[in-house]
Amino acid sequence: MLVYALKRLGVAGLVALTVSFLSFSLIYVSGDPAFALAGETATEADIENIRRVYGFDRPIVVQYLDWLGSALTGDFGHSNYLNTDVASVIFDRLPVTMTLGACALAFALALAIPLGVLAAMRPNTLLDRFALTVAVIGQAMPSFWFALIMIFWLGITWRLLPITGTASWLNFIMPSVALGYYITPAVMRLTRAGMMEVLSSDYIRTARAKGLKPVRVLFKHALRNAIIPVVALSAVQFGFMLGGSIVIETIFAINGLGFLAWESIQRGDLPMMQAIVLVLACFYIVLTFVADLLNAFLDPRIRVS
């Protein structure tokens, strides 16, 4: 188990390194960053100046290593627009996005897992078809449109929920639903498939032959095995949601990392953009690593060998 963990850690580290390089190279996507910074009316001399001041005249590898070195010590550079260092802004806004992501995940799991279990217990019945219909419809609705519809009905027409900001927990309801429902179909299908497979397995037949009560068979024996891939998927999906929250945060004016990313993109605040991509990617990498570990931990066949 330890060897397994170390191997995965090694891979994760390499991936993180690669991603860091890709995030760094964002600055060169538009061509010469010195041009971008200098503006349209700049002269050759101005541009040269900027190059020297920001260090763009150094070889790219050196620039990357310099940036990476600072990043590892928590210094992501200075934001051109907010007049403060990037790191503090990011870590200021990060908790909001994490809260949003966690709520969205909780919503998705609370909806998807019971539906998946029920559908698996009664395959090809009305309930099953209902669950699959919910899944199909959920996958077809763009999240921003769903968010707008919710705002229209719940926020404006019936005035049940607040539509902007993060004043109270009520503010998180609609955004969480808008963000979370998109992964509900995948989780539900996986739960359903896993449960169906487990319910028809030999050890469930043994559990029934032992005379165990149905609830016990369902939870202790069936769900315990079927949920393993779902746990791993959830960890990964949490990572997706952290990265995909940009649209939802923008609509609901939630001051999280996504909204910050949006603002930085609009302003062309490159250091901020690079840092956000890197931070989100690293979160995702950590989450996949955690998912792998969870997978191994929950399955004694991997954990004890």
């Binding site: 165990l212 095995n225 004694p300 004890v304």
Partner: protein, 339 residues
């Protein structure tokens, strides 16, 4: 309850399964009983309905299957009209079952100890410690060494033979009166098979249980059976005391089965081993006559009509289902070299 008392009584057990073409009569009108200390072997080829019979007894049939019987009692208690909750009280308690695939019959997520203690804790008011002690006792009884440390192991850490022993020990936790073993040794190595069978026989004697052993292997039957039931296409075609059925096979199908076994001393060198040509008939829809008629070399027009009932053989405790007289079929048996 004394030795020889009837534990299980089955009268006219049928299992029907709705299929696209109609109704599949998987098991038709089975009658048998099992007494304390007795081993009943149900023999037949794949698809003859023997596994379904065992599931029917435990009420573990697939949802679509329809079980009917005139009488199905365990220690006098009628199992047919029971609520599912009461049936669940009986399963694993007075009646236990051992399955064919030891590799997949235990839950990979929990330890052996947990799964064994669980069944006792479900049916009895005992403490965890008492359950643990009984688990150790039974593991040792089934021949597993270092029982205490085995309790903490997971199924994947044990071999197939060991897992099957654990299954047996687990089903004995509540001291059942009847054990149904559905092909318990089919998935194991030949050398292990003998050990497991011997183990079952010993345990049965010691705990004075009834044992229903389901198998397609005649060698197994010869070794352990007190009584034998031969099934074909959902029906009993021959039944009786084991020695009677083996030494004087009266039904053409049983004779065919025995022809397939080479017997040192009897079978001539270079002789062809018997085989039964043809395939099992479809059991969907209206069924008429003898199911074996298609493949029987002695078949006559009257074999395909009406319903053929079981009739007495040449001796007590020996019945068979055929239109032919017993002395006629015994002559066949002698011709074929199986009697």
């Amino acid at each position: 309850m004394a030795q020889g008392d009837t534990i299980l009584e089955v009268k006219n057990l049928t299992v029907d399964i709705p299929v696209p073409g109609g109704m599949l009569h998987a098991v038709q009108g089975l009658n048998f009983s099992v007494s304390r200390g007795e081993t009943l072997c149900i023999v037949g080829e794949s698809g003859c309905g023997k596994s379904l019979t065992s599931l029917a007894l435990m009420d573990l049939l697939p949802k679509k299957a329809i079980r009917k019987a005139d009488r199905l009692t365990l220690e006098g208690e009628d199992l047919l009209s029971l609520l599912e909750s009461r049936m669940a009280d009986i399963r694993g308690n007075s009646m236990g079952m051992i399955f064919q695939e030891p590799m997949t019959s235990l839950n990979p997520a929990y330890t052996i100890g947990d799964q064994m203690e669980e069944i006792l804790l479900r049916h009895r008011r005992v403490s965890r410690r008492e359950a643990r002690e009984r688990a150790i006792y039974l593991l040792e009884k089934v021949g597993i060494t270092a029982a205490a440390s085995r309790l903490g192991q997971y199924p994947h850490q044990l071999s197939g033979g060991l897992r099957q022993r654990v299954m047996i020990a687990m089903m004995l936790m509540c001291g059942p009166k009847l054990i149904i073993a559905d092909e318990p040794t089919t998935a194991l190595d030949v050398t292990i098979q003998a050990q497991i069978l011997l183990l079952l026989a010993e345990l049965q004697k010691e705990f004075e249980m009834g044992l229903i052993l389901i198998t397609h292997d005649l060698g197994v039957v010869a070794r352990v059976a007190d009584r034998v039931v031969v099934m074909y296409a959902g029906e009993i075609v021959e039944e009786g005391a084991a020695t009677h059925v083996f030494e004087r096979p009266t039904h053409p199908y049983t004779q065919g089965l025995l022809e397939c076994i080479p017997v040192p001393g009897k079978t001539k060198r270079g002789a062809h081993l018997g085989s039964i040509p043809g395939i099992v008939p479809s059991l969907v829809g209206d069924l008429r006559g003898c199911h074996f008629a298609e493949r029987c070399r002695y078949a006559m027009p009257e074999c395909r009509q009406g319903h053929i009932a079981l009739r007495a053989g040449l001796e007590d405790d020996h019945a068979y289902r055929c239109v032919l007289e017993p002395d006629v079929t015994m002559a066949h048996a002698r011709e074929r070299g199986v009697a």
